[in-house]
Structure formats: structure tokens, C-alpha cells
Subunit: 390 residues, 4 copies
């Protein structure tokens, strides 16, 4: 145990509204809790559900004024944009297929947006939204939550500083078991949202899990995908979208990769793991043990780095709240993204300049990349698992 980082003092508090996150949603509560735990913002408006009842229930539980509970995101965007005390930003956590319209509604009215991944279903939509945000100079984020981990940030620094040399190959995997049974027919709202193309879009496993691998590899290494060959498997009976996928990749510069995602892999809860191999060493990061990071330096024993114990680079360690051995988890990873995002928003409001550190959160370009990646995987698989340029 070393001394924890100095206590984080938020730059201020903003108000926000939420689209989605109504009764039965898991991710809405995670966003609210992460923001609240940091003392970063207050939920002031919402359109939590497609059903007005759902919105009322969640609105009441969250203590939102009745006049700021909206039947649709269009009304919400319009009304909040008019109010002098309108929300500072919107959080979109509704089903994938609704992201484009919801985000557009807010951006059009000058309200910055934090959007759950995947950003949109079609790449063109994603590009259009990014263009709009740029035009209006609106800071936006796409919540690739795992990029918020202290250990991931340290891994990124290790790569940047050349500690493992040039990247040679990458192995990413994200197995889960929860869709081994037909959960979408057994009353699981989550399962419906993932497996119904009307809600999920054109991909299940790659869009939901594969984009986490893609964004982490990109975030940690900076590698850009040159081409890929993907096979998307529909293993569960009657499934329209894939629930298992294997993807071979070539990155620009020549490094090679393989990704595997599955929702039918018995024994796995949330087995996101990224291994990056370079000319001088390697990294091995596993989400379920997210306070640790394996580091190989060729010629030396494998080392298990522990958050806040071992010398982490200052940018990574600045996100560490607790002494080593006191586990931080999923909420802190997301809170780290909000911490940076809201800090940047406040700076921007004050007219202050933003540097790279201020902008260390997953942005719309990462959102576009994820949508493009998913689209290319679907395209490759539909053509017979052939190589397609990315």
C-alpha cells in the first residue's frame, strides 16, 4: 500500500439529461452512479423509456422534476435547449438503433452528447454526427468504458514509450456465456436488446463485444486496421445476429491480430482480455482483474503490475483513487471517462484551451472506428469470411 493519489476535486458540477436507462436497464444506472459518485453532475431531465410510464417511474426514483420528464428525445432536446437552466450535456443509453436520431436531436440544438457504444449502426450516420459536432464545436464522447481503467492507461503509456518495442501481434478475446440459453425468449430485456436487429442493428456479438476489443487495441497501441477477415456465427437457435465471431486482422504497418468474441462460451462472465506482443516485450490485460497488468520484458521474469503499488506513469496514476490492493472496478472506469469529459466541458465553457490530457476520453472518431469495424466484419462474413480492406 502506498499513499493514494491526492483526492480528486471536481472542477465543478454540470447538469445532464438522459435518453434511455429506464426500468430494467442496466447501463443507465451505471452511468448515473458513475457521475454521481464523482460529484460531477446532476441528473435534471430524462426520457428514460419508450413508454411514458417507464420514464415516470425512473424519473420519480431519480427525483427529477415532472416538467423535465419527456415522452421523446426530440421534445427533450427542444425544451432543454430553450431553458436557461437547461442541461449541460445529454447521455444517450437507449438501444443502438436509436442512437443516431437521439444524438442528432441534441447536437442540432447545441447540446453536447455522451453516447453509449456503438455510436451508431451505420458508418455514414456516425460520420454525419461527428461532422455536426465539429461544426457546432460540441465536445462529445462515446463510452468505451474499459479505456477508463487505470491499468489500461498505464498500458497505453508503456506502448507509447516503447517499453515493449514495435508491436508484432495482438490477441484480443471477449467471451461471455449468458446467451448460451435462449435468454431473449426467457424474459431477458438485455438479451432482446442485443439479439433483435430492430434494436441492436446489424450485429450482436461484434457490435457489443468486438468493438470493446477494437477500441482498447486502438487506444493502447494506436494501431489502425488495414484489412480483416471475419466469420460471424449464429449458434443459438433462431438467432438472426451472430453470437460468436472470429476476426483475423492486419494492421497498417504489418502487425497481425486475431479477435474472438462469444456470448455462448460456457464458463465466462465477462472475459475481456487483450494481449499485445512487441519486439521487446508484451502486455496482458484482463478486465475481470482490472487492478493488475502482466508485463513481459523479454529476457526478464514476467511481472504482475499492481495499480497504485508499482510505479505507474503519472497520467495513469492520476486516475487511481485507492491504495493498491483495494479493488477499483467498473464504476471507476466509467467515472474516469466522465471525470475527464466533464472537466473538459467546464474548461471549454470557461474558454480555456484543452490539451491532450484534457481530451483523454473516447471521442467520436473512436465511435466512427467502431461502427466501421463492425460494418466491415459483417461485410466480410457475408461475403464468405473473406478479406476486406478497412
Amino acid at each position: 500500500m502506498i499513499e493514494a493519489s491526492a483526492e480528486y476535486v471536481p472542477a465543478g458540477k454540470l447538469s445532464y439529461g438522459m435518453v434511455g436507462g429506464g426500468p430494467g436497464s442496466f447501463i443507465g444506472d451505471v452511468h448515473r452512479r458513475s457521475i454521481r459518485s464523482e460529484g460531477l453532475g446532476e441528473l435534471k431531465a430524462g426520457c428514460f423509456s419508450r413508454s411514458p410510464e417507464g420514464t415516470l417511474i425512473t424519473g420519480a426514483a431519480q427525483g427529477i422534476a415532472q416538467d423535465r420528464l419527456y415522452p421523446g428525445f426530440e421534445e427533450m432536446a427542444a425544451e432543454e435547449a430553450k431553458r436557461s437552466d437547461g442541461i449541460d450535456f445529454a447521455v444517450v443509453v437507449s438501444p443502438n438503433t436509436s442512437h443516431y436520431a437521439a444524438v442528432k436531436a441534441f447536437l442540432s440544438r447545441g447540446i453536447p452528447v455522451v453516447c453509449e457504444k456503438p455510436f451508431t449502426v451505420e458508418e455514414g450516420e456516425a460520420r454525419e454526427l461527428a461532422e455536426l459536432a465539429k461544426e457546432k464545436n460540441l465536445l462529445c464522447a462515446v463510452t468505451y468504458t474499459y479505456t477508463g481503467n487505470v491499468t489500461v492507461k498505464h498500458a497505453r503509456e508503456l506502448v507509447r514509450r516503447g517499453e515493449i518495442g514495435d508491436i508484432l501481434c495482438v490477441n484480443g478475446e471477449y467471451p461471455q456465456e449468458w446467451l448460451l440459453p435462449p435468454a431473449e425468449k426467457q424474459g431477458s430485456k438485455q438479451a432482446v436488446t442485443r439479439t433483435d436487429p430492430a434494436l441492436a442493428g446489424k450485429s450482436n456479438s461484434v457490435g457489443d463485444l468486438g468493438t470493446h476489443i477494437e477500441s482498447l487495441v486502438s487506444y493502447i497501441t494506436g494501431l489502425r486496421i488495414k484489412s480483416l477477415c471475419a466469420r460471424l456465427d449464429r449458434i443459438g437457435k433462431d438467432r438472426v445476429l451472430e453470437d460468436n465471431a472470429t476476426i483475423m486482422l492486419e494492421y497498417q504497418g504489418g502487425a497481425r491480430g486475431v479477435y474472438w468474441t462469444s456470448q455462448i462460451a460456457s464458463g465466462y462472465d465477462n472475459g475481456l482480455r487483450i494481449r499485445i506482443f512487441g519486439t521487446k516485450g508484451a502486455l496482458d490485460w484482463n478486465e475481470e482483474a482490472c487492478n493488475y497488468l502482466w508485463l513481459s520484458r523479454f529476457g526478464q521474469p514476467n511481472a504482475l503490475l499492481s495499480r497504485a503499488k508499482d510505479p505507474f506513469y503519472p497520467q495513469a496514476q492520476s486516475y487511481s483513487r485507492l491504495p493498491s490492493g483495494h479493488p477499483e472496478g467498473y464504476f471507476e472506469a466509467l467515472a474516469n471517462i466522465y471525470r475527464t469529459y466533464i472537466g473538459a466541458l467546464i474548461k471549454q465553457k470557461k474558454g480555456e484551451a484543452l490539451d491532450e490530457k484534457d481530451l483523454d476520453f473516447p471521442d467520436l472518431q473512436m465511435g466512427i472506428d467502431g461502427v466501421r469495424f463492425t460494418g466491415k466484419c459483417v461485410e466480410s462474413s457475408e461475403k464468405g469470411a473473406v478479406w476486406v480492406p478497412v
Copy 2:
């Protein structure tokens, strides 16, 4: 991944004040963040530091009104008791030796208290405070944080339901490495607080770490200590209090145990581990991997239980926020204690009856037990590491 528990909706929000937790404190921030993250309470008053400047700095950062920042806990207790909007409870996280007076100040004025462990330095003090709380019918808690873990609560249920049979022996350990160097001479405020008898009381390692073992074993198994034999070691140069300790125990009913605590064990961050062996099986819980629990059932393969994936008993699972594989950590453990404590306080205010589930947080009896345990360890060691009745 199974569906997470239904979102927790707090019964309401209370206001609280804090003693201790000023600049450089680690634990004060942890308490504040845990309460805030649940949306359970608002910090409205404080005496954060023995120095008025410290209190002002933390008070400003926390957004507390100036007139509710106090130079001492006596003033705070007196003033807050008078206010119609006075705090609903006080949180005491100042150095150990100040607990008794601080807690007494609030209890005397009818304000319930949540006190960091150890409750007090002397057992007599602890008993006196518990008596006072009882007289005044004030709900109080001692934050043995680790008892808040979902996996610990499930372990407790497993034992209660006889799943591992009668307890035969216990092995508890809590090694750390941070006091291997003379950190108290190197500017670590934490190290001074732990090693200076004027702040820590008569024990360092047993009081700080050993009581976590003691409370967890008691919480999980219900076992009461009958006698013990303790050797307290002062290994770091010039240390007055022990930084390593070994304790052999006999429990009422005949089960045997051994505890080991250390702050000079190179390689360990926060290695709290509890193993409980029974006639039918065994449990193995490790704080650093607190989303998991090893379960042995004699004659079957060892099983690794995963929070929210494997069938946890409802009382344990009700504290689970995230789907399996999405790590919860230290903050959630403490938040679980506050969730229950504040819920009980609200019920009590409303005049509702409290059942066992409402009271599933570490109470003053656990506080007394911890102080008694520490005192007996010191006594045994001073007599030459001999057996003493407990």
C-alpha cells in the same frame, strides 16, 4: 452475465457530518464517495482536521456552508444538535485515539454515529459508548468495510445453512508491505497515524489489520474467541508498536484458528484472506479478488463462485449492483454498509420495526469485540506470548 439485481432505490437521503477526513486523509474520501455514490446522504457539516485550515480546505472542496465547519467535534456536536436542520448522523474517521471522545460527543447529544474501526482504544470506553447508544436508542455502526462485500455475505449464508458443516479451523491472514521502509519518517501521514501510539493507541498491526480478520471470521462464522496466544513483533527500527503479529486462537466450541498480520511483508498490497474449514467443506475468500469465492465441498472439485453469476443467496445478491465479470470493489463494500445503515436509520425515524436484514451492518458489539481482541493480543504478547482467556 446474468441480469443484475434490480436497481437499488434508496429509501431516502439523510444529512451527515464528518469528524476527520481532512487533507491527506484517505479514508475520509472513501466514506464520502461511498455515501454519495449511493445517493444516500449529503455532507452538511464537518470538523475535518485538528487544524482549522485543514477543515476550511476540505470544507470548501466539499461545498459545506462556512457556519457548519467547526474547530472541534464538541462544538460540532453541540451546534448540530441545536439546529432544526442538524445532521442526521455523524461519521468519525479521525485517528483511533480520538474516537472515544468524538463518538461520545455525538451520542451524548442524541446524534447517531458511524465510527471507523477500531471503535476505541480501550474496551471499557467501547462498552461505555455502546451503553450510551443503547440508552439513547441510537443506531450506530463501526465500519468493518470488508463485511460489506457481496461474496462475504454469501459466505456467511453458506456457513449458516450448514453447507460446509461444523467449523473445524480457521486461517486468516492480512499481509501488507508498505511499512517495510520507515514510511513514518519519510513523510507518510498514514504511516504516522498507524505507528504513533498517541494516534493509533496501543496496537498498530493487530488494531489496523487483525481486527479485520477477527470481524470477518466472526461475521461469517459466528464463532466467539475463547482464548488466544499472540506474539506481536516490532520489526521496523524504532517502532514502538508491532508491525507483524501471529495469533493462535481457540474458539468457543473447540474450533481452532491462526491469524497472521504484517505490514512488512514484501510483495503484498492488501492481502486479506480468510479460509474457513468445516466438516463438509471449506471457504476461501481473498479481498483483492473480492468478486469471487472459492468453495470446497469435500468429495467434489473446488469451485470458484462468481458474484452475480452463480446462485448467491438473495440477501447477498441484493447487494450486487453489476452483472458478473464487471468488477465491484472497495467502494461498493463500504457503500453496502451505508446503504443498510441509512435505510435502518430512516425506518427508525419513521417508527418502523427493524428486522435482522435491516440491521445487517457491523454494530457496536462488533466494535467492542474488536477492541477486546486487540487488547487481549497486546496482553498476551506482553506476558510473553502466553495463552489468555478472551
Copy 3:
């Protein structure tokens, strides 16, 4: 610890000769030691090296009579076939490219052969040899050593008995780090043997490591490969053969798989790992922890099976020598193959019938499969990493 299996008593002792395994060889010594440790056979003849000096040195160290040390395998086969006390079988552990001729020499003269994997370089050669062995009724084996592990044998039984249901997908990996540096230019004989096409044949990583994955998957599940898409990467400078490879597979019946092999994966010694996912559960086996086996049964906690502790099926447990927790390793895995092979040879000599259990060692069909698999991977990769039927 449970009682170990009853002590194994060999059915008798045979004499054997060896081709390869001279000074600097690692695998020759492993074969000799495995045979010797079981008391199964005596090394009586050899052609250990292409250099006569090498053969003399190893022959002397092994205590072989001078007149049974041969300059070439042809002479050895011819002479030993003539002797009344000639060898009962030959062990071929010379470089890959010599296997075909060496095995043929012995088979032609009626001497059974145990051949290191890969069986041959070309599939046609492998088929020819298998045909020859069949014609002459000679029992032969290809030493896919890892199939000899007790835990692998238990895994096979679990699959056969339907304990994990129908196989849905497979993930096999075998990373090593030893060829990250240009070891073949730094005096490593092993590295030369693997990377020089004149010795290794047309594949390095797939032939050396990938065939272990392929044979284990086949042995455990019985799955036959229908088609594959392989990308073979030459990452080390000046390498002619691949040192990293990714292979996507479809099995007959529809199950899917992905294999990854690497010799440039920093941090890995010998990371052979096989994961098999079915409709009811999954298996996870890791060579470096070969006394254990993870078993998932969907809906139950993951279980860690321990050799000789947990109830292993009799056919698997019959190969267990030591009580649980007393590690068996690589030598025992190979010895298990020899135990069965030599037992079968003795039975055959006596004219006794051989049942499935007697023949539970990797046979020439597995040898052919491995050569075919390697060839198809090379073919796929050369065509641009496209799908090819297998």
C-alpha cells in the same frame, strides 16, 4: 490426497533402437528417459546423429554395444532386422525431413516404429507409410506427447459421455517466446532445426506447435476439420518459415474454431491451451498446469478438477501415478504413450487381441491428419489466407 492408482507393473520389457537424439538434442533424451522410467524397454541400438562421432558419443553415454551403433538408419534397419536379438521397435526423433525415409527403412524390414511428430513433411509420404505399416501389420505411434496427459484423457471422456453437450466452438493457442530473437543465428541447434526448411520442411510454427493443437482437439473431441483459413506470418527477420500463425476452422458438423500459434510471443514459455465449448458446458486445459482441468457446467460454478483427487474416469485415472497435488509432468505424459504402445506390442507378439483401450495412443492416422493439416494451412496462406477444404 487420495490413494494413488495401484502401482503399474509393465507387461514386460522390449529392446529398441533410436534414430536421432544425439548430442544437443532435447527430445531424444526425453524419449529415453520416459521409456526407462517405466522399466519398459532398453535402448540397444542407435544411429543418433548424422555425424558418426555424435553417434559414438551418445552411444557410449547410453552404454550401447559398439556393433549396434550405426552410421545410417538404413544400415541400422538392415542389420537389426537380421539379428536374432534385434530391436523390437525403432524410435525416430531425427529432424522432420528425415522421418519419411527413416520410418520407411524400418517398416520395410518389419520393425515397428514410434515417430516424433510431425510424421512426415508431405501427406502422400504419410499415407504411403501408413499403408506399408498396415500391410505388414506393424503397430506404430506418432508421439503427440500431450495426448498422454491424464487430464487430457479425462477431458476426452467428459466429451464422449456428453458432459459438455454438443461442441459449438474451440479455441486453441500455443504461444512461445523463444524465437523472438534470431536464435537460429545465435547457436541454437533447436532453432536451426525448426526454422531451416531443409530440416523442418515447409512449416515451422504450424508443424511444430499447431499440430499439437490439432491433435489434442481431435483426440479430445473427435471433431474432423472441414475447411480452414490460415495466415502464416514470418515475423523474425530473414525467416523463410512462419513463426506465428492464425487459423480459422470449420469442423464437420458445423462447430467453429480458431487456433493461434506463435514463437515470438514474449512472456510465453510453452503456452499450449485448449478450450472447448459445448451446449452444456466447457473445458479449459493448459499444458503448463497439466495436473488440473477447468470444467464449466452451464448454470454451476466453474470447477477446477485435480488429477487423482476428483473422480476421474477409470481409463484416465489408470495413468495416474501419484496422489493429487504431487505434480506429474511432461515425462509422464510421454511415458503414458509408451506404456500403452509397448503393452500393445507385447500383446500383439503374444497373439492376443487388442481392444480400444490397448490402442489408446496416437496412431499413424493422427500422424497423417497432422501432416494434412499443416499442408492445408500452408496452402491456404500461400493463396492469400483463403478458405480451403480439408
Copy 4:
């Protein structure tokens, strides 16, 4: 994977006889296999069982000439001493209580002995035998098998070279589960041998397991025990000897330790683990994962050393047979002791001088230490778990 050590070539072969190791024995086979696998010796005589039938059965299975199968060790020692081709050394693996007389029989006739641990039951007996061996200049060994592990030998060198600084404290544990049921009443010969004082002597758990901890700590650190306080627990019904024990220790020089042994710890196969903490770092060795060694160097990340991959000291690495990641196990640990012992015996026969390296096997002094340790634990416990000098 690095190149394995150069192949070990035995200095020669000796003949030996065995006392004990008859039908149903586990340890006899382990000794025979370890010697055989190295090509170090041939079993030529035996008295394998107290029943002549047992000796005949094992003798036949081992291929021993009928005239060298003896009804008792006295006859065996007398006859073998007379033969010109008599055994070069005797291996004693009979029940504990018979060791003294058996060893004495051979030593008296000038035959060196390898004795299973514990050496004897009484310390006086052990000293007498050591004296006799010294008088007659007979090399002897006590097979503390685990000291033969390559990783243990490397750990020893790390301590000797000061890599972890001065030793501060030690934590040794050896839990097993096999005596949780009353195995001695259920037909387990092993259980009877361990729990019946007529066969085991005055201690079960400490003598069987605790002495392994004691010998490993002594071998690795060189620490000598100054005093101890032991509590021996009889947990299984009707047990006369302890099946669980806790021991607190003080070493000469001031270091502290705690040992725990158990045979009733559900979930454990053979959980021997030694942790050694020093002023500069720490070691953590676990028998079930004996190819690895955790090394903490204070201020650096914890490192997992892998046999034959990471730079092991030459004396340790010289015992390594296989490349890294290819597991060695229990047989190799014992074979390492025999390799050194028999090498020394051959050198001695040739009149060559023996250096420290030649004598790197557990000797009679370690045997005496183990008996003394066990005796002192029993004494302490019988006096009420009080401190006794050692």
C-alpha cells in the same frame, strides 16, 4: 523456451536394496521410479513387507532374484554385506517406527542408507545413527523430497546471495484434506500408517507434513529454530495423533515464523507453501506449481520466475531437465536427490574428494533436526502449547 540443460550423464550405476515399499505402498514405487528414470541404480535386493508374501509379490514384479528377497532387514543387511556383489546402498521406506532398527542394521554392516523422512521417532535414536554413520564414514541421506526441486534450489541461492536481504519472517503451510473422513477406518493403508502411533510414532501431521516445512525453511534460509510454541489438534474422531497443528517460532537471530499443517483442510490436495520475507524482498514457493517461484523485490513489481526460462543460478539450473513450460514434477525432485547422492557415493568409492555441491542432498543432520523439531512440537503441545527452547 530456452535450450534445456545439457543432458545429464550419470557417473555410473549402483545396486541397491529396499526395506518397505511392498504392495499398497506409494512411496516405495516413487523411490524406485526416480532411481530408474535417471539410470542411476538397479534394485537387486529387498525386504518389501512385513509379510513374506508381500515381499515375494513385489520382488517378482521388480524382477529380483529369489535369493535376495529377505524376510527381515536384519537378514538382508547381514547377507548383502557378505556378498561380493552386495548392494551399494539401502533404501528404507518402511513405517516410521521401524526406521531406527532398519537403518542401524545396514549402517552396522557398513552399508550406506537413504532413509525416508522422518529419520527416526526419537531424537536420541537419530543422533546415535548419525554417529554410527560418521564413525563408519558412510554417506547417508534423508529424503526430504521437496528440497530437490530446481525452484527450491534457486530460492536457496537467492537468499544466500542476499537478494531478499535479511530474513524477517517466515510463513509455512501444508494443508491436505485426505484425513477429513476417517480414512484409517475405511481401508486406507496410508491412513493407518500415518495415524497409528505404533507405525507413525508420536506425531502424525507435524512428523509427516511439518517436517517438510521445517526442512525447506532450513534448506532455503539456513535459519535455526530457537524456540517454538505448538498446538497439536486431534480433530478426527478417535484420533490419537494430531491431524492439524499450528506452530509459532522464533529463529536464532530474531526472525519469526508460523507454520500450519493440516490433514483435515477440505479443498487441499498437497498445499505445501513456503513464504520467506526479508528486508529487501520475499519469496513464495508452492509445491503444486513447482516449476515457478514468485519473487518480490521491494519497490519492483512482483515477478513470477519460470524454471529454465528465467536466469536461474547454475547450481539450480544444472538440475533442470526440460525447457521452460514443460512441467517437471515430484519424480524429478526425488531423482535430483538420488542423482547427487549416488554421484557422491561413486566419487567416495573412487576415493575422490567431495565438495559442497557434491553433498547438496538432505543429510542426517537434517534428519536429526526434523526429529528434534517434531519432538519439541509434541512437548510444547503437551505442556499446554507453551514456548519451549529448541
